[in-house]
Each structure stands twice: as C-alpha cells, then as structure tokens.
C-alpha cells in the first residue's frame, strides 16, 4: 500500500512538473498558445507556414546578400513603417507606423546650415521619427534610439567594410556624412569633393592634395565604375600601359601618382577607346590618404536627440513617401554582436546572425532552429509589441514559419502535392498542368528579359569559320528582323512560367510617381515610343510580331552583307547563344529563337541557312561583355520606383552589348522646346546625375522615352518578356486579396495576411484522408 502511495505521488509530481514545463515554455514565448489580441490564433493551435528557401549564409544586417536572408530577417524585425493592404484606399494600400509612433516629421529647418544642408533649405533633408516605447528584443531588453545608433555605427564601421553599408552611403537615401565616415582616411578624391584644381604637382614629380600624396587607383574601387577598378577594363587599355600599371600597383590596388603615371593614364582616358575624357575627369581615378579628412561619427546625419527619437539627415531631398519608403534600418543587438566579433582577414566582422545563439529578434517571430543547408524554423515572439498593441487585429494567424532548404524542384513539387509545403514555385514545365489552377497565383516582377546582340564586326569576323557567317549581325536589318520574328506571346507561353510579353527596356511595374503609383509604361511619352518603334497605331494593337516584314528585312540584310562581300552563297549563319545551362528549359529558348528565324527566312536567300547553337556558359554576362558571345538573353530589373536609373545598364560601361558604342550612339530629344542631340551616355548622365536629375517628372519622362526609343531603334537589344513568377499555395491558405495589388504589397505578406482554413493537426489529418496526394489541377 505504501509502495502504491509513493508511486501515485511520483506520477502526480511528474504530471505537475510537465505542466509547469509547459507553462514556462509559453511564458518564454516558445509555444504557439495565444496571449495576444492579434486575433486569429485559436489557443493551443499551430498554424505553421511550411515553405522552402535557398541558401542562408548569414542574417547579419551588415553582410547579408541574398533575398532569402532578407525574408528571414524580415520575420525577426519590425520596420519603422509598414506597407499594408487597405481596400478603403483608392490605391488599395497604405503605409502605417510600426516601430515609429507617427509619420516622419520634416525638421529640415532645424538643421539647415549643418550636415551639408544649405542654410536656405526648408524641406526634405531632415526627418524626425519618434519611436514607440514598448518595443523590445525577444529576451525582453527594451529598444531605444541607442540601438538604432549602434546599428548604424556598426554598418558604417570603416573597419568592417560591411556589404550593406552602401544602403546609407550611396543613392537616393544616402545619409549626410555617411560615405566619408565609412570610407575611412584613404579614399577617393572625388568622394571628398576634390577636383583637378586641388591636385598640386610637387617638385619631385609626385602629386598632392592638401599636402597629402595622391595615388592612382588602378585596381581599387571607383565610384565612376560602380565599385570596380579600372583594371577590370584593361582590354580597352593599351597592353604596354596595362603592364606598366601592373608593375607598380601595390596591395591596396593603387600606385603613387607620378608624372609618368599621370601621362600614361591620361593617354588612355583621353583615347577614343575610353570616350575621350578630359584632363578634368582624371580626378575620378585618384585616391589620397588624409586622416584629417576621415569622416567622424559626429558628421553622420543620424542622430538620437533622446531615447525615443531619431533624426535622419540625407544627402538628397526626400518627399514624405520616400522618407517612409527608404529610411529604415534593421537593428543589431549590441551584446550579441560584440560577443561574436572576429578578425576576418583584417576586417572587423561578427558572426552575429549565423546561428540561433548568435541572433536576436524584435519582430513577430524569432529563430528557434537552424541547420545549415537544411532547415530553418521561426516561431512566434510573444514579446513583440504587435501582438498586444491593438494595431494588428486579424493579422498574424501564422504561429510558425518553417523553411526547408531544398534545391530540387521535383522534390519540392512532390512535397507540396503531399501537403508538406504551403507553397511551391512553378516552372514552365508545370504550367500546362497547374497554370490555370485556382490555387496558382502570378506575381509580376520588375525584370525584363532582353536579347542582346554582339555587333562588333571585327570580333564576329574573327570567329567565322569556313562556310559560317556571323558578321550579318552587324546589319541593323538582321537585328530588326529578329525582333519582329519573335512572337512574344508564343515565346512567353512556350518558354516561360507565365511571363508577359515585353516591348520596352522596363516593364509595367516601373513607377515614376509613387504617390499615385503612375507607371512609366502608361505615360504618354513611353507609349508613343513603343508605338513608333514597333509601328503600331496604338499601344493596344502592339504585338511586335511581323513575319512578313522580318522576311523582307532578312533578305535586305543578306543582300547588303553579300554586296559587301561578307557572306557567300554557301555560308550558314550560326548564332552562338550563350545561356546558363543545357537542360530542356534552356534548350527551349534556343530552339524557339531558331524556329522563329527559320520561319522568317522561308523564301529568302537565308532559307535553311540559319542555325542557333546552345553554348553553356555560367558566366554569360561577362562573356558577352568580353565579346565572346553572339547572343545572350539578359535580365535587368530592380529599383522599380525609379525607371530612370535603368538606363544605366544600356548606356554605361555596365552594358553587355559588345560593339554598341554608348559613348557615341546618339539620341535626339526635345526638352522644354529645345532639341538636343548627344550620346545616350550623356543623356543618361544628365538625367540621373546631372541637370535633369531634379527636373520635373514630365521632362524626365520625355528624356527617358527618347533614350529608350533610340536604343530600341538600334535593335542591338530586343526586349521580349516581363518576368512573372508563378506559384501555387496550398488548399488551406486563404489569400487576403483576389488580385495582385502592386510591387509593394504583392499578394500580401504570408506571415501577416494569409489565413488558414485548418490548423497543422487538421491539415495533416486532411492530407492523410486524401492519401497524401492532393489535387491541384
């Protein structure tokens, strides 16, 4: 009896301890039970969003590089302002304060005359944000403005060379003084506002700026070259000059500027090959080291007047929309970051954000499991203010987010069909089966697929073998014929997973006025450009497809090429199409182009004499840039709130179109009643960096459309498709909207907006009932 009593007491004690353990987990924020007013979580039920992701290298705000990492960081952080669906608004979206308590306040007048703000400037340069006082890390540590200051200092640390420092040193949202601070004492002369007038030649043949020795940056990052060194472009430099520079360059990628170096540099930069730059432009290639001019933190336009206020002071004037859109920072938890600091080859880095132990959250979820290359799991962070602040009613039904790192698409699709995943991307092979499924959603993306031709006669000629012709690509008629021979509608249907036909260098997503979300493509100048280029009466009639005209153009190209003695009667035109892989998806692109051109060539002298070769090339962008390809399909996009900067990839050294001379190819555009002709490169410079960078939107549209027209009429590029991603969501998911809203909102956030018809247990039971094979067709 005594033994029985002891046994009963033991069992009771164990049960009680288990219950106690359960309570502890809840209070730690580890269970899925709901103690919030955010609405939709039924107590004790789990709603895990199961998905897949690619590689995760780090969740460190300083050094993350991949979109997957950004998505994971987003689950563990809160932005100052949130973009939400708002069906009451005419635009169907709105921005609301999240970590902030109100919209940013323009305090430019308070800082006028400081931080580079002109004394008479009254708006757009300084923005005050008041922080909420109930925000904290997932261990309960309160978040104050000191966290913001520490995070910004860490990202801009000149000894860290953080990958993400450019978010605050360059571009539209650059902070005052940030670039100078992040660069350190040894940096570009042009970055410190120096010109050639500041460069002094000394008696010993060296050069100085403010008494400090000047260096020529042969293999060091230059703003002019988007962060690359001049050495990257050594194919343009006379070999003997390149060899000379190579012999002098030191470990920093620079060499002391001497008279001889100066002369050789100028000999190159003033040459035709480099666009006849003037002596004044040489300043772009110089560095100097002046500890006195190294930026200090006090000069950086990021202030904390009190514990719950921060002030952003920017280099460029911003509207309220852009201050909300662009001014934000992902916070770094100081104690964790400092504890994990390491010397990484001379740089001060931290392994912060590379494991559960080295990462902290201040967002709706926190990371509780991570296995490199395999799995990452997030669960509700009960310490997040959003669950109790009353501003998130009916949101965040998702209690957990579970990502498996799987590369193989077939595996992902099978797991999805078993009910083990809540979403899956679709490929062009899947579209016939699932393209019209009620669970398939299409999301437009900013990228445009464009065919780019090599048009350099000498390079093409050098690659011609016996009975093979390539120089015909240099004839405009050939390239125009190609553009007209591609049935873009059929191309998208045959080769892609739901892409849409594209005709211009940017697609419909590019917005030039975010307040109204007015897109560039819907503007009158942009419509006019396309109608003129493709000879259409209206934009609605535009197809870009005209086999008959393509046929005539092919014959014309052949006749010209023949008359010039560049093609023989028995030559075959061979196009080396460089593409990433060789599998069926890639082969389809090549086959489509070949079939289109063979069809257009029927009845011409080129009938059955055109051949497209698939050339596998993992680095085809650089190959194209080096002139090694005949044709590539390039994809450009991003920064969809600024269509104008997209011209950079066609009008500067970023261009992949070998043989296209952006420095001399001209566009004639009428601006404010004045007609001007200059190179597309010069137009780009004036539009994005020069006199038109702050011009009226209508003027900028006019220039953008004019340059786009000039580029398209050269036909060295042929836009064909606008990216659209296709994915299926599981049967238990309820989307917040029945249509894609815009590039800021898309279909809503899966964590915040998606609803579930079944919790995890019910869903598992349902899938089992269906034999773990769900129907989505």
């Amino acid at each position: 009896m005594k033994k029985k009593l002891v046994a009963i007491l033991l069992v009771a004690a164990m049960v009680l301890s288990l219950v106690a353990c359960g309570d502890k987990k809840t209070s730690d924020g580890g269970s899925g039970s709901n103690a919030s007013d955010s609405g939709s979580n039924d107590a004790g039920k789990k709603y895990t969003y199961f998905s897949t992701t690619g590689t995760i290298n780090t969740l460190n705000p300083c050094d993350w590089q991949l979109n997957n990492e950004s998505t994971c960081m987003g689950l563990c952080s809160s932005s100052l302002y949130d973009w939400r669906i708002d069906f009451d608004s005419s635009t169907e979206w709105a921005y609301v304060p999240e970590m902030a308590t109100a919209l940013p306040e323009d305090v430019t007048t308070e800082y006028a005359g400081q931080y580079g703000i002109p004394a008479d400037c009254t708006q757009g340069r300084a923005w005050k944000v008041t922080l909420r006082q109930d925000a904290c890390w997932n261990d309960g540590t309160p978040i104050t403005s000191a966290d913001f200051i520490y995070s910004m200092q860490t990202i801009l640390d000149p000894n860290a060379k953080a990958y993400r420092s450019n978010s605050y040193t360059d571009g539209q949202f650059a902070l005052a003084g940030a670039k100078k601070y992040a660069t350190g004492s040894f940096g570009e002369a042009v970055g410190r506002g120096k010109t050639m007038a500041d460069v002094v030649k000394e008696a010993d043949g060296t050069y100085t700026i403010d008494g400090h020795q000047v260096f020529f940056a042969w293999n060091a990052a230059l703003s002019l070259l988007s962060g690359s060194g001049l050495k990257k472009y050594e194919q343009y430099v006379q070999p003997e000059i390149a060899e000379y520079f190579d012999s002098l360059v030191d470990g920093r990628g620079v060499m002391p500027l001497t008279e001889e170096v100066y002369n050789k540099l100028f000999e190159f930069t003033s040459s035709d090959a480099w666009g006849n730059e003037t002596e004044e432009d040489l300043i772009n290639y110089f560095y100097y080291d002046d500890p006195a001019t190294a930026g200090t933190w006090e000069e950086v336009g990021f202030l904390a007047p009190d514990d719950y206020t921060i002030v952003w002071i920017t280099c460029n004037a911003l509207t309220e929309f852009y201050s909300v859109y662009g001014l934000d920072i992902t916070l770094i938890k100081k104690d964790l970051f400092e504890a994990n600091k390491t010397d990484a080859g001379g740089l001060t880095k931290s392994t912060y954000g590379t494991s559960v132990e080295t990462y902290a959250s201040y967002g709706p979820y926190y990371m509780d499991e991570y296995q490199e290359g395999k799995h990452i799991h997030f669960t509700r962070n009960e310490k997040w203010f959003g669950y109790t602040d009353g501003n998130h009613e009916g949101m965040y039904q998702t209690t957990d987010v579970d990502y498996q790192m799987i590369d193989e698409h077939t595996t992902i699709l099978n797991l999805f069909l078993q009910g083990k995943l809540d979403d899956t991307g679709l490929t062009s092979d899947d579209i016939p089966d699932y393209g019209t499924s009620e669970f398939t959603i299409y999301t437009p993306e900013s990228y445009t697929a464009t065919y780019a031709w090599n048009t350099d006669f000498d390079v093409l000629k050098s690659r011609e073998e016996e009975n093979v012709n390539k120089t015909i690509f240099t004839y405009l008629e050939w390239r125009k014929a190609f553009s007209l021979a591609i049935d873009r509608q059929a191309f998208c249907k045959t080769c892609t997973a739901g892409y849409q036909p594209a005709f211009g260098i940017v697609n419909n997503l590019y917005v030039y006025d975010p307040e109204t979300m007015a897109s560039y493509r819907s503007s009158e100048p942009a419509k006019k450009t396309l109608c003129e280029v493709y000879d259409a009466a209206s934009i609605d009639e535009l197809t870009g497809y005209n086999v008959d005209e393509a046929r005539q153009l092919l014959q014309a190209a052949y006749d010209k090429c023949y008359a010039d003695g560049n093609i023989d009667d028995d030559d075959v035109v061979e196009v080396n199409y460089h593409i990433y892989g060789t599998d069926a998806t890639y082969q389809r692109f090549v086959d489509f182009c070949e079939a289109a051109m063979l069809k257009a060539a029927e009845g011409t002298s080129l009938e059955n004499r055109i051949k497209f070769n698939l050339v596998e090339d993992k680095d085809y962008y650089n190959s194209a840039k080096a002139g090694l390809c005949d044709l590539i399909r390039e994809n450009w996009g991003g920064a969809a709130m600024n269509p104008f900067t997209m011209l950079e990839v066609y009008c500067t050294d970023t261009s992949n179109e070998y043989g296209f001379d952006y420095m001399h190819y001209e566009a004639t555009i009428t601006v404010n009643g004045e007609t001007k002709t200059q190179s597309v490169n010069a137009w780009y410079d004036e539009l994005c960096n020069g006199i038109y960078s702050d011009a009226d939107p209508e003027v900028r549209l006019q220039i953008m459309a004019g340059v786009e027209k000039a580029l398209l009429l050269n036909y060295h590029i042929a836009p064909v498709a606008a990216y659209t991603s296709a994915e299926m969501v599981s049967q238990r998911i309820i989307l917040p909207t029945d249509h894609w809203i815009n590039q800021l909102i898309n279909w809503g956030s899966f964590a915040r907006d998606f609803k579930y018809t079944m919790d995890d247990a019910e869903w598992e039971a349902y899938c089992k009932e269906q034999g773990n094979e769900l129907s989505y067709k």
């Binding site: 988007s226 962060g227 080859g345 590369d407 595996t411």
Partner: protein, 322 residues
C-alpha cells in the same frame, strides 16, 4: 615492405604539394569579377576582397595560405558557401556525417548483395538465373543513379507513401525517423555498386571455377558448394577487395545529385558550389581532404593485396626484365 611504404608515403607527400600548388594557382586564375550593377555593394565587395588578399599576387597569397595552414592549421573561413565567416574545417566537418551516413549504409548493402548475386551468376553461369542477374546488371550499370532516385522518390515515397521524400532534419543519426528518411537515398546509391560488384565477382569466380585445382578439389570429395566457398571464392575475391576499399573511400565524396534530390545536407554539392561561387578556402580545404584520402587510400589499397594474398610481395625491387 617498410621501405616501400615509406617511399610511397614520401611520394604521396610530394604529389600532394604539387597538386595543392596547381589547384591554388588554377582556382585563383579563374575570373571572379564583381557583378555589374552592384554600385556601392560592389565597392564593399571589392574592399572585402582586398582585405582578404584576393588582389595580391597569387604567389604572395599562396605563401600566406601555406603559412597559416602549416603553422596554425587554419584553412580559412567561409565567404560565399556555408555560414558566413565559419571556419572552413568546422563547416566541412558538419557536412561529412550526412554523406557518410547514407553512403556507409549504401556500401554495407552493396557488398553482401553484390557478392551473393555475383556468386549466383557465376555458379549458374549461362543458366536462367545468370541471365536474369545479367539483365539487372546491365540495367543498374547503364542507368544513372539519379534516375533511380527520381523513380524511388515518385513511386516509393510519393505514390506509396512508404518513406519521406527528403532526409529528416537534425542530427539524430541513430533514430528510426532519420534512418527511415534515409532509405531511399541509400537504395538509390546502392544499385550501381551492387551491379558493379556482381559483375566483378561473376567474372572472377567464373574463371576460378574452371581452374584445374577446382576439379582436384571435387575429385578429393568436396561438394560443389564446399569447393566453391573454400577454394574458388577466396581466390576470386583477391582482386575485388581493393574495389570495396575504394568504395568506402568514395563514400567521403558524396553524390551531388542524390544529395540534391533527397535534400541531404552533405558534402556532395559543396565542391562544385565552392568552385562556382569562388569560395577559395572551402575549395582548397575540400580539395586537399580528397587529395590526401586519394593518395593514402591508394597506398592502403596496394598494401591490401599483400595482406589478402601473402604470395604478393611489395617493393621487392624485381622487374619484369629478362
């Protein structure tokens, strides 16, 4: 024998240095441009690479590499592969167990099944049993393992629901759940080696079974099975044992496609990824790991001949000259 082994080890070390130098120089010569259109990020990347010595002359980089490897056994840290800044050795050690796990099981299945069916084919040579086994040998050898992987995943995993489609996450290698989730990759990895071993055993055993001493054994009164197992099998296995050894050594190489299909976080895909993404430290550490395994595995394999068959002597200095 001792001198022979010492000489082989010495040669292996020299070979290792030559290979290491070639690999280092060649991988550093591959273009590694900063992608265009990255603006300030490109600049930061250039600065990082500069701090890490990427723009120093290759020989300078190589000397620094040798110094840190041989004085600190520091193989560097992950930059573009694995977890950012994680020591390379730590990263690779974390990947090896998964590869070893599925491959050890695969090898453990392959050897007995290969031997058994190979013997059957040899014993029943030119009979229907042999024909059937030969058909399977042809199929298993001709069809690449990733095809079985997809077939297994679709029919066994997806349609029949007998096994999970991907390897379970976590490190509980000795749990039933982990083993259950590993069955399909193990099977996919086994078919090829099984067929290979079957073919080798069949060929060797068939030859031995027709030897004169087998006739003598039978005339002395041994049964067919006794003669086969006690005499023929032991002799036929000699040239095959090194294949088993190489099979185990090959385990560490992993299988890119099988690991990809079944989401095994092993070492299989790391090499190509490191090469594509120019993670020099990961590439060099993994290369040298395999070089060392290969060179010393070769010595072991050669030594195994002598151990299995005492008639084979190493390093006797004899030549085939008459």
């Amino acid at each position: 024998m001792f001198r022979y082994i010492m000489r082989r080890i010495g040669l292996a070390i020299v070979s290792m240095f030559i290979i290491m130098t070639m690999l280092f120089v060649l991988v550093k010569m591959l273009p590694n441009p900063v992608p265009d259109g990255m603006g300030g990020q490109g600049r930061a990347l250039v600065e990082m690479r500069r701090a890490w010595g990427y723009y120093d002359p290759i020989w300078t980089q190589y000397l620094i590499f040798l110094k840190r490897v041989f004085t600190e056994f520091n193989w560097g840290f992950c930059t573009t592969v694995g977890t950012f800044l994680q020591p390379v050795t730590e990263y690779l050690v974390s990947k090896v167990p998964f590869t070893v796990y599925i491959n050890v099981f695969a090898e453990a299945i392959s050897i007995p099944l290969g031997i058994f069916f190979g013997m059957m084919a040899a014993i029943f040579k030119n009979k229907w049993q042999d024909q059937v086994i030969n058909v399977f040998i042809m199929i298993f050898i001709s069809v690449p393992s990733f095809v079985y992987a997809f077939l297994l995943q679709y029919f066994v995993g997806f349609k029949l629901g007998l096994c999970p489609l991907v390897l379970k996450s976590g490190f509980d290698f000795f749990s039933w759940e982990m083993f259950h989730s590993a069955i399909m990759p193990i099977l996919a990895l086994s078919f090829g080696p099984i067929a290979s071993y079957m073919r080798l055993i069949r060929a060797e055993l068939s030859e031995v079974l027709t030897a004169d001493y087998m006739l003598l054994a039978r005339t002395k009164g041994l049964t067919r099975w006794q003669a086969t197992f006690r005499h023929a099998f032991r002799n036929s296995i000699i040239p095959i044992v090194p294949h088993f050894l190489w099979g185990f050594i090959g385990i560490l190489g992993g299988s890119i496609l099988i690991e990809r299909i079944f989401s095994v976080p092993g070492i299989g895909g790391v090499y190509i990824t490191a090469l594509n993404k120019k993670d020099y430290d990961v590439f060099m550490c993994l290369s040298m790991f395999w070089v060392v395994i290969g060179l010393f595995g070769g010595i072991l394999a050669d030594m195994s001949y002598g151990l299995i068959d005492p008639r084979i002597r190493m390093g006797g200095g004899k030549t085939n000259d008459y």
